[in-house]
């Protein structure tokens, strides 16, 4: 009983981890299924069909490619703009700073459906044809605030004396930035970029409002496919993404912790 009380938090923690991982495990398992009917809900028979022909579902790989492309471009642009803004907000005092902070916060506090629909009204009013451009505009918009917040936290945790020390040691402001500040803020910028990519790659609601009839991203493809029975290939992509994410995040964390251990 005493043991239970001591380890209750561990037990609950592990159960919650299981809750988080359960759908991913199902995705992996069902990527090896050969469904009996249209719907891949019931285990039928082990098969490597989907793995051997990942692009076998028409339109899926095109949609995937588009999502990757949009994710990379959106992450790149919002990381550059967001990092600049984060520096301005954490390093300078200027009139209107708190209003600016609020403007950065609001998009995060706006439900996607509101953001998507309001952008649609703007694009309609402007007469802008929905498509890749409108999707990019929308993705940059909703990832921007997350980049600003992530980078700002990193910049704020930096000791301002470090930049002063660089200046004291004959570095011009530009040199101090590139030799001292940037390398130290880089992990935060990378985290912001990764988050921006993940948010863009994952988005369905905002995209659906602004994609138009012919541009189909991967989440839109999955949504459409789900109505008439999603192909097994979707699970293959899901599995690859999960394993890839575990690998990337795992490697990043391992490098981080090894660095800490060596340094300690």
């Amino acid at each position: 009983m005493n043991w239970l009380r001591k380890n209750l938090v561990v037990i609950i923690g592990l159960l919650v981890i299981a809750y988080i991982l359960l759908p991913n495990i199902v995705v992996v398992i069902f990527s090896f299924n050969k469904p009996a009917g249209r719907f891949n809900y019931q285990w039928n028979q082990f098969s490597l069909d989907a793995w051997l022909d990942p692009c076998g579902s028409p339109g899926m790989c095109e949609a995937l490619g588009l999502s990757l492309w949009i994710g990379v471009v959106a992450a790149l642009i919002s990381t550059v703009m967001g990092t600049m803004a984060a520096f301005a907000l954490s390093r300078y005092k200027f009139p209107g700073r708190s209003a600016t902070n609020l403007l950065v916060f609001f998009p995060m506090a706006t439900p996607e459906v509101v953001m998507g629909s309001s952008l649609l009204t703007l694009f309609v009013a402007m007469g802008l044809q929905s498509g890749q451009v409108t999707i990019l505009i929308a993705h940059i918009l909703f990832t921007l605030s997350f980049v600003v917040t992530t980078v700002k936290a990193r910049v704020a945790s930096l000791d301002p004396a470090l930049e002063q020390a660089a200046a004291d040691l004959y570095a011009t402001p530009a040199q101090a930035f590139w030799k001292v500040t940037f390398p130290l803020v880089a992990p935060g910028i990378a985290a912001g970029a990764l988050l921006a990519f993940a948010l863009s790659f994952d988005d369905y609601i905002v995209t659906n409002f602004n994609a138009g009839a012919t541009t189909i991203t991967f989440p839109m493809f999955v949504w459409g496919a789900a109505q008439r029975g999603a192909p097994v290939q979707v699970n293959v992509i899901g599995t690859v993404m999960f394993v890839g994410a575990v690998a990337i995040v795992g490697i990043a964390q391992a490098i981080g912790s090894r660095k800490r251990k060596v340094d300690a």
Binding site: A166, D168, D263
Partner: protein
């Protein structure tokens, strides 16, 4: 050893009517100061007295509201930090966490495009006895070592002036004592002008040739440590550097080298030379606790004598400190060295005495 970092400072640092004002307060309120080349100079004062702001203005990290900063014959007021041949040891050390020790120390040399920066950086690390840590990262080093790296990183550039911003503040007492001696040794070895900011009077007196005591943005008094201690010009200096017993006095007569004064009805003598020029009202006589003696009530050798009751005795080994209450209620602190003389006990009536030569007089604030 460390021939590369040998450098005699050539320029005198001059601060002329230096002001630094913020929206709501004045941090530095008009400072005029000459620091001769090669000296170990301390800016001493409580927190908020403007000493760090002064230092940062010399470094170029803060702009003066008005006034000028001269280094040798050059006016550096409008140059920026990276253009000044001045280096700083920061309070938090500010070692670059992403660079190893040798790259930290070599940072300034590489900015200055010094070809053999690595050799020079190693020499500087040898000077602070950390050559074996060159490849490690700052966080792998203890606080004391980080402090020495910060020192090496600044010294290696052979600046005209080295600024130290409370460099020993984060170290424990024992380490601090060691580093004080170490800093003094290094300063004498490299001959660079050191300007040291501290709130620790003992630290300032141990290391510096000249100490400037600062208070609310101005320099209160400037002099050698012995001068400041023995002849403080104000009550603030008298109490900030060590402890003082202050008695209000009125001058009754001056004849030659000796002046007669009265304090709370007791007639005392002071040296005429110690009286501030032209001031007669609000004078106070100051005597350090260790300059006071416990003497027998009948002793007539001493001209300056007061008596009172012992209200507190604390024995510290090397000395005994007494609090002695005077008839008018003031408690006077007396430190008696543990030299074998008889100790007084609590409640005892005692007579204290001092040599007029050992006392000082300060004017009204």
């Amino acid at each position: 050893m460390a021939a590369g970092v040998q450098r005699r400072a050539t320029g005198e640092l001059r601060l002329v009517e230096l002001f630094r004002e913020y929206e709501d307060f004045v941090a530095v309120n008009g400072i005029d100061l000459d620091v001769p080349p090669g000296s170990f100079f301390a800016l001493l004062g409580p927190s908020g007295c403007g000493k760090t702001t002064t230092l940062r203005m010399i470094a170029g990290l803060e702009e003066p509201t008005s006034g000028r900063i001269l280094l040798g014959t050059e006016d550096i007021t409008n140059t920026r930090a990276h253009q000044r041949r001045v280096n700083t040891v920061f309070q938090s050390y500010a070692l670059f966490p992403h660079l190893n020790i040798i790259d930290n120390v070599g940072f300034g040399l590489r900015q200055l495009k010094v070809a053999n920066w690595k050799t020079k950086a190693m020499e500087a690390l040898e000077l602070v006895k950390l050559a074996d840590r060159a490849k490690q990262k700052p966080r792998q080093l203890s606080g004391g070592m980080q402090q020495r790296v910060a020192l090496a990183r600044a010294i290696v550039n052979e600046p005209e002036i080295l600024l130290l911003d409370e460099p020993l503040g984060a170290l424990d007492l024992k380490l601090r004592r060691e580093m004080q001696i170490e800093l003094k040794r290094i300063q004498q070895e490299v001959g660079i002008t050191f300007i040291h900011v501290t709130h620790d009077q003992e630290e300032a007196m141990t290391m510096a040739d000249t100490v400037a005591v600062m208070r609310s943005g101005s320099i209160e008094q400037l002099g050698t440590p012995a001068d400041l201690y023995d002849k403080p010009a104000t009550a603030f200096v008298a109490n900030f550097l060590g402890q003082s017993n202050l008695l209000p006095i009125e001058v009754t007569s001056v004849s030659g080298a000796v002046a007669k004064v009265v304090s709370h009805g007791s007639e005392l003598t002071v040296e005429s030379a110690s009286l501030p020029d032209g001031q007669t009202a609000g004078l106070r006589l100051g005597i350090r606790p260790e300059k006071l003696r416990l003497v027998s009530a009948t002793d007539s050798v001493w001209t300056n004598r007061l008596s009172g009751e012992v209200t507190d005795v604390s024995f510290t080994g090397v000395a005994t400190t007494y609090l002695i209450r005077m008839a008018w209620g003031q408690e006077i602190t007396v430190t008696q060295p543990n030299d074998g003389t008889a100790r007084a006990t609590l409640g005892e009536q005692v007579t204290i005495a001092w040599d007029p030569h050992h006392a000082f007089v300060i004017g009204a604030d």
